[in-house]
Symmetry: C2
DNA sequence: CCCGTACACTTTGATCCCGAACGACCGGTG
DNA sequence: CACCGGTCGTTCGGGATCAAAGTGTACGGG
C-alpha cells in the first residue's frame, strides 16, 4: 500500500496543509524515499541473514569494516561504520564476547586500541558476507546494473553535500546561539 | 574522506577477501550508499531543525504522519512511520506529554486507539515543517529537480521490491525452519 | 624531569528501538 | 452465554545510541 501512491498522496496532503507556502516536492520525495529505502533494506537484512547469525545491523557493519580493512584503530572504524566512538565500545565488546573480534592495545602508542577479526570472525564473514551480498542484490533486483550505479552516484552527492557543508550549515542556522543540548546524555558535574 | 574513494576501495578489498567468489559490486555500492545517505540526512536534520524543537527523528516522523493523514489508528501510523507498534506506544506517549498529540479510544472498537494532532501540534508543524523541508532542499542541493525525481524513482523500486517480495523471500530463505528468535525481547512468563 | 596540552578510548546518563509475550477485546459459534 | 480464534495496543528485556565527562597515554617544551 505504501510506496508510489502514498508518497504522492502524502505530498498532496502536505501541500494542502501548508496552504500557500511552497513545498519543495522533489526534494521532499527524495529524502523521504532515502529513509524509507534504508529502513526497508535494513529490516530485510536484519530479519534474513543477520537473524540467524544473531548479530544486529550495527554489529555486522562493524565486523564488516574490520574484516575488509584489516586491523584498524577504533576511531577509524567508528567513522567508517558511521557510529560514535562510545557506541563502538559497546558493540565491539559484544562482538568480542561472541569471539568474532579481537581487541589489542597498540604496541607503541598506549592510547590506541586495535580491532581485528579473529579466526572465527574471518570464517564467519567468509560464510555470511556472500549471503548478505545476495540479499543486497535481491533488494535492488528491480534495477539494472547501470541504474544501481546511477543510484549510488546520486546518493553520493547527498552524502558529500552533508559531509562537506553540513556543519557550516548547522552553524549558520544557529547563528551564534548555543546549540540546544540534547535531552539525554551525561550531565555536567556541577 | 569517505564517499567515492573509500567505497571503491572497500569494494576492491572485499573482492580480494572473497577470492574467486563474485561480489555484486553495483548492488553493494547502491545499498551501502542508501544507508550512508540516510544516516547523514537524519543526523543533519536531527542536529538542525529537530534539535531546537527537542524532538527525535522518530517522534517528528510520527507527528508528521498524523498531521498529514489526520486522525489515524496506531497500527497504520506505525506502518507509515516505519517503526514497530511497541515503539509507537512510547513515542506517542512522549508526544502526548508534550501536548502535541491526542490519544483517543475508538468509539465502537475497544481495542483501537486513535491518534490525532492537537491544536498545538498543528501549529507546531505549520511552523517547523517549512524549516524541515528547507533542510531537505539543502541536503539535495547538488541535485537538479530532475535528478531528485530520478533518485526518488529508483529508491521507490527498492522499497517496492522489499515490500512486495521481502516476506516471501525471507520465508524461502528459512525454508521451513523456525526463525531464530531475537536475543533480546520479552521472555515467557514461566 | 616535570608540566601542560593534546589525543584516544571508556564510562555514564538518558533515551530510543525492536520484537516476543501479554492481556483486553472483537465477532462468531454451539 | 461461555468459548475460541484472531486482532490490538501495551509491557518488558536487552542491545544500541549519542554527547559529555572521565581516565590514561604521548610528547614537546621549560
Amino acid at each position: 500500500m505504501p510506496g508510489q501512491r502514498s508518497i504522492t498522496e502524502a505530498e498532496k496532503l502536505a501541500q494542502a496543509k501548508l496552504g500557500g507556502v511552497p513545498v519543495r516536492r522533489e526534494q521532499m520525495a527524495a529524502v523521504a524515499n532515502i529513509y524509507r529505502a534504508a529502513s526497508a533494506v535494513r529490516q530485510h537484512l536484519e530479519n534474513s541473514v543477520l537473524r540467524d547469525s544473531d548479530l544486529t545491523w550495527t554489529a555486522f557493519v562493524v565486523l564488516w569494516v574490520v574484516w575488509v580493512w584489516g586491523e584498524s584503530e577504533t576511531r577509524h572504524v567508528a567513522e567508517e561504520a558511521g557510529i560514535s566512538k562510545g557506541t563502538l565500545t559497546g558493540v565491539s565488546r559484544t562482538l568480542e564476547s561472541r569471539g568474532l573480534l579481537r581487541r589489542t592495545g597498540h604496541p607503541t602508542d598506549g592510547r590506541l586500541v586495535l580491532l581485528a577479526a579473529t579466526e572465527k570472525g574471518e570464517e564467519f564473514m567468509g560464510r555470511v558476507f556472500p549471503a548478505f551480498n545476495e540479499e543486497e542484490a535481491f533488494v535492488t533486483s528491480r534495477l539494472s546494473g547501470e541504474e544501481c550505479r546511477d543510484l549510488a552516484g546520486l546518493l553520493r552527492q547527498v552524502v558529500l553535500q552533508v559531509e562537506e557543508n553540513g556543519e557550516a550549515r548547522r552553524r549558520s542556522l544557529l547563528d551564534g546561539a548555543p546549540p540546544t543540548p540534547r535531552r539525554s546524555g551525561r550531565r555536567p558535574k556541577a
